[in-house]
Amino acid sequence: MFPLDATFPLNATIIRITEESPSVRTFFFDLNFETTEPGQFVMVWVRGVDEVPMGLSRKNSITVQKVGEATSKLFALKEGDSFGLRGPFGRGFSLPSKGEKILIIAGGVGAAPLAPYAESANAASSEVHTILGAKSAEELIFEERFAAAGKVYISTDDGSKGTKGFVTDVLSGLDISACDRITVCGPELMMASVFRLLEDRKVLGKAEFSLHRYFKCGMGVCGACCIDRSGLRVCKDGPVFSGIQLLDSELGRYTRDASGRRIKI
């Protein structure tokens, strides 16, 4: 329905809002991004406030965690209100083929772009396993969507559901060598632990990680989102990178703020 590079904001009217957790809501809108790959992102323009990147949780929804100014303003919107939307941008997760065994590792709102991935993997007749992590049971996002697509392992920091601990605690108990593909999205420290574990197991080659860096242009021109040492742009060459691309990278060590200064993670 839309060109892959709708770089000028379209008007998206909210048609439904659902509460996924105390701090996470899904906003359904009246546009359909038919040609998106899971993992690609859109820029969400909260007019008069800011424009921020969000993964698509469906062809016509974003799933947002309230963290600061723009997301709070989004939370103040109601059905019938609208925001600007452009995209989808960037490189998503590689799609699985029939019969492949897929391991999805989602932490917190990182489940947003991975739920549609689980669904298309399932539709492509892959075998889908998901490790879904969150702080607590009520913060788990899209558990049913992952469950409908395959097997789900839960971990919560407080043990209110599933394994008490981190996704890595579940991961270390699984037979990773049997997986054809591993896709990861979540808080950077979680992804860094997963990265180290997969590196130790020598399976980085089949893993993909969706990164989060500060975006300005969102279209690969300004350079705000480049990572060390490769210089790859998270907004255009990513946000999804293979494990190999992230070897010897800043992942888990530092990020940059809007001015470009390095910020320890």
Binding site: D5, T7, F8, P9, N11, M43, W45, R47, G48, V49, D50, E51, V52, S82, G84, R86, F215, K216, C217, G218, M219, G220, V221, C222, G223, A224, C226, I227, D228, R229, S230, G231, L232, R233, R256, D257, A258, S259, G260, R261, R262
Partner: protein, 301 residues
Amino acid sequence: MYTLTGLKPKNPIILAAGILGTTGASLCRVAREGGAGAVVTKSIGPVPKTGHPNPSMVRLDGGFLNAMGLPNPSYPDFLQELEIAKKDSGVPVIASIFGGTAAEFSEVAEGLLPGKPDAFELNVSCPHAEGYGAAVGSSPCLVEAITAAVKDVTNLPVWVKLTPNVSDITCIGTAAESGGADAVVAINTLKGMAIDIESGYPILGNRSGGLSGKAVKPVAVKCVYDLYSALEIPVIGVGGVTSWKDAVEIMMAGASAVQVGSAVYDRLDIFSEISTGIEAFLRRKSYSDVKRLIGLSHEMV
């Protein structure tokens, strides 16, 4: 041997300021993978700036509009990036700098000297940063004073980047030359704006910004043409170059080298593509040397 204000770019196609120039690693990538003959950094100032709120860049029919607001980590923090670029890019690295006064410009230049940039480019031309850029760059006196101040603290070549948002760009170019500039760079973006008609909101976080890309090429060609006539020092052309043909055109207008900015949107290796295209054109036309192109249109009467 192709030289430019004493520098030896690998080819005449240079990364423009503010494009993929925030980190050393990114500058290296543009040089190595992209094939840029030299690279200019993001404009660096005296204190850290986060820039304007997003949206900070949109693509329009035939161009781009941006209002980054000169985000930069300030010179102390940028030094480490400059060092990486110098160490690994394999091409000359030009530090773009800005300030609100001549004193700030020289402070930043001196502060970056330990990073061993190959030259400085003075941004007196950004159209959307209160008190910086074009705010100073439309006054010949200020431009001359700023150029002279930076020349005072360094022996490195100093390029002065000009704004087209003035009645007569040659006045500003002449002021830069009088201040001791080794080259001028033209053009920075044109003042522009876009409005979202569904909501009535101006699209950029800063409401208005600067126009770049194809749309501005004819303006850049004209500015370069006029500067070439008016000045003794080399003119570096920038604005809307997206192909080798554009680069040849702007060189014929008078540019000794060409910078490419927005066109990295299409592909990163635009630099090597353009420089290969120019080589092929020179062969087809049996021109001995790229220098033959520089200012050629002035001879055709």
